[in-house]
């Protein structure tokens, strides 16, 4: 198992995703002899996990069962321990495409936060790329570095604990792409530029507030970035369900004598209904997360 390479079987030391339900998943560090508590009972790693195929259905001690899935950055995003606000897959997917990430890309990122985006970047740039990620919060930087190791992607990433606005990314002229998710991205734009390859590349800044976007766009333009473009992507999840629509009873129709009807007094109101498959969006859409501002650094 690794976050950048599939395996078929669960092994000691893997991180597996225990799938309880659509909105309940938990990452589990697989260890010989260890146990994991779920609401369906205990999972015994040695017997229930190790040697099993990823995707297997595992029966827990209370008789309930769970699925054990191979980790992916997307499953990690919905199950990781939150140490900060995180980026979700809808934004991550857009960022990955719009930054033109691919195997071999060198990427700078700040802040690392809980590592949600970092894992998705690593998946895409492996096996030949590299991620330089900067996190000013020491505790978080240490924790995420530990996770990278557990997820067997540490050879692809360098974690730096510093202030990107003051100290930059710690590298110069190497990046194909830079991602910023910090309160004042405009203060890091010149560092982003410095970190990027001379031939140019793409930059993205994520901000929840339009004022941050405005200042960032201004600074990007001043620093000579081109194709500055701000967008927002929202996800709608459609709930598939069967609904029943009653038909109105307009009473007996004297103009239709061929209708086979009993005397209306005895037939009573008809309760006919039509059943159909439809979708309903959830009442509250997971709304605004942030604005994504992209730009191109030209060759300098």
């Amino acid at each position: 198992m690794s976050f950048v390479e599939y395996s078929d079987f669960i092994q000691d030391g893997d991180v597996a995703i225990v799938y309880l339900s659509h909105d309940s998943m938990m990452p589990v560090k697989v260890q010989q002899g260890a146990q994991t508590q779920t609401r369906y009972g205990v999972i015994r790693h040695s017997t229930d996990l190790i040697g099993q195929r990823y995707g297997s259905k595992v029966t827990c001690s209370k008789g309930g069962w769970v699925h054990v899935l191979h980790p992916t950055p997307e499953l990690w995003t919905v199950s990781l321990p939150h140490r900060t606000q995180i980026l979700y897959t809808t934004d991550i997917a857009t960022i990955t495409m719009m930054l033109e990430l691919k195997p071999g890309s060198v990427v700078c990122e700040s802040g690392t936060g809980s590592g949600s985006l970092s894992h998705a970047i690593l998946r895409t740039i492996a096996p030949t790329g590299h991620l330089h990620t900067v996190e000013f919060h020491q505790q978080r930087a240490e924790k995420v570095a530990e996770e990278f190791q557990e997820h067997r992607v540490d050879h692809l990433v360098t974690v730096r604990n510093q202030d990107v606005c003051k100290d930059g990314f710690g590298v110069t002229g190497v990046a194909d792409a830079v991602f910023l998710d910090i309160p004042s991205p405009w203060e890091a734009v010149k560092h982003a530029k410095a970190a990027m390859k001379r031939r140019g590349g793409r930059v993205c800044s994520f901000s929840p507030c339009i004022e941050q976007v405005q200042r960032t766009c201004e600074t990007l333009a001043e620093e000579g970035f081109q194709e500055i473009s701000t967008m927002e992507v929202l996800l709608r999840v459609h709930d598939v369900r069967t609904v029943s629509l009653p038909l109105p009873d307009f009473g007996p129709d004297p103009s239709e004598p061929d209708t086979e009807r009993e005397a209306p007094t005895t037939s009573g109101p008809t309760h006919a209904a039509v059943t159909l498959k439809t979708t309903t969006p959830p009442r509250e859409i997971p709304g605004h997360t942030g604005y994504l501002t992209f730009a191109t650094k030209p060759r300098t």
């Binding site: 140490r83 000013f136 919060h137 505790q139 202030d163 309160p183 929840p208 507030c209 339009i210 004022e211 929202l234 709608r236 609904v243 629509l245 009653p246 038909l247 109105p248 009873d249 307009f250 009473g251 007996p252 129709d253 004297p254 103009s255 209306p264 007094t265 009573g268 109101p269 209904a273 039509v274 159909l276 498959k277 439809t278 979708t279 309903t280 969006p281 009442r283 509250e284 859409i285 709304g287 605004h288």
Partner: protein
């Protein structure tokens, strides 16, 4: 047209008024009744003290459930501390930053501390507040405020406020109709004073009441209702003046076919004497239990205007009165039916509004016959598929122009002057509404 002194009368809360309570984004419709205990957002209180105050006033709920007019606002933290960090880097996420326990807070509450005072205590006892950025501090205060505030604002009901209330509290009751969708419907159907409008809805009366508000007591509204009786809990909440109800008529859809065929008898007769004609009274009786059931369900869930006065000893007298009542009710119903039938017979309605849990297609095809040529109609359904069917059927059927299947997206923006403008939030449902400038079918 100037603002006269007597305007004031309308602006003040009176006993018997229908009002809407508000805290933050939470609304609840209510009638002002003396010494009536009301429960709102898990707090109980009496509205008596609100009488005589202006609509829009905010009250603090003090001990004993008494309302006390709020003093001028004091939004800045009372100890004046405005110290803020520049980022959150020094905040360690150990869940131990708040020194006050849940029990401590309960004790503070018992000591009679009010919302703002409790929040001040929370800030004082938070080890990380000072290190948070100004934005994060602001977010923190807002969150806590929501939790510990105990004020209530009293509003005059309106279509806008009741639509917000229903969508927030009981969307299932109004087929998940959003207020912006209701707004589209009222406008697309060209609802205005002096016209004759047909309404078929299962939205607790919200749509009906909104149509009535827009007609201002001029013209006539005919509620076409399914089952045993019209549902109107929502109409009451509007608190319309009495004369508004003069324009409201009702017609049970189970008589639509006989009305169209000219066989509906609405003259006053004893029950069941004429079985060859559409035996309206029999059906009425038959449908009554269902209507009661529907009505009482309505009452249970609506949480508005329910009294506690029904004692068990009243049960007896009630039963005796029931037979009498029933007869009077039937007679009244017959008169109402006759009046509604008279309005419908001309097949010259100016507007048709359909918003129900029923399949919209047969409802529309049935009621369209009552519409004058060149008049708009609008059909709402919570689901798109049946509206596609509606659309297809109408196109095949002919007789309509300007038919459109639409929905709207609504988005709220938080614009916090002067510093932070943030976090727009989307609240959207697929709410198609079908519009038609009609040339009714019999024209072709």
């Amino acid at each position: 047209m100037a603002d006269h002194e007597d305007d004031d009368y309308q602006c003040r809360i009176k006993e018997g008024d229908y009002v809407v309570l508000k805290r933050g984004d939470i609304f609840k419709a209510m009638q002002i009744q003396p010494r009536k205990k009301v429960i709102f957002e898990k707090q109980w209180f009496f509205l008596d003290n609100a009488v005589g105050h202006l609509y829009g006033a905010t009250f603090e709920i003090v001990s004993g459930g008494t309302l006390q007019p709020e003093k001028p606002k004091d939004t800045v933290s009372s100890d004046g501390s405005k110290e803020a960090g520049t980022d959150n880097r020094n905040i360690v996420d150990d869940g131990k930053s708040q020194k006050l326990t849940r029990d401590d807070i309960e004790t503070l509450k018992e000591q009679g501390l009010k919302g703002q005072q409790i929040i001040d205590q929370l800030i004082k006892n938070s080890s990380t507040f000072r290190d948070k950025t100004e934005y994060a501090q602001d977010k923190y205060i807002k969150k806590k405020k929501k939790k510990y505030e105990n004020t209530v604002t009293i509003l005059k009901p309106s279509c806008r406020i009741l639509a917000l209330m229903y969508h927030g509290r009981e969307p299932g009751k109004i087929c998940h109709m959003r207020y912006d969708t209701l707004a589209q419907m009222l406008t697309l159907a060209n609802i205005h004073a002096g016209s004759k409008v047909l309404v078929f809805e299962t939205c607790a009366g919200l749509v009906l009441g909104s149509v009535m508000e827009r007609m201002g007591g001029y013209g006539s509204v005919i509620q076409m209702y399914p089952g045993g009786g019209p549902v109107r809990a929502g109409v009451e909440s509007f608190g319309f003046p009495a004369h508004f109800h003069d324009m409201l008529h009702e017609f049970p859809i189970c008589h639509v076919n006989s009305l169209l065929a000219g066989t509906l008898d609405t003259t006053a007769k004893d029950t069941n004497t004429d079985e060859t004609k559409s035996n309206m009274a029999a059906e009425e009786e038959q449908n009554q239990p269902e209507a009661d059931e529907q009505g009482s369900m309505e009452q249970q869930n609506m949480e508005i205007n329910t009294g506690d006065e029904t004692g068990q000893d009243q049960e007896k007298t009630r039963k005796e009165a029931k037979a009498q009542e029933k007869k009077a009710r039937l007679e009244e119903k017959r008169k109402k039916l006759a009046a509604a039938a008279a309005l419908l017979e001309g097949r010259n309605a100016d507007g048709l509004v359909i918003a129900s849990r029923f399949h919209p297609c047969p409802v529309l095809m049935g009621l369209l016959k009552f519409l004058s040529p060149s008049r708009p109609f609008v059909v709402y359904s919570q689901y798109k598929e049946p509206l596609i069917e509606c659309y297809t059927k109408l196109r095949e059927h002919g007789g309509t122009v300007n038919l459109r299947l639409t929905d709207t997206w609504l988005r709220h923006y938080q614009v916090n002057s002067p510093y932070m403008s943030c976090s727009s939030q989307e609240s959207t449902v697929l709410t198609p509404s079908l519009k038609r400038k009609s040339l009714t079918s019999f024209l072709y």
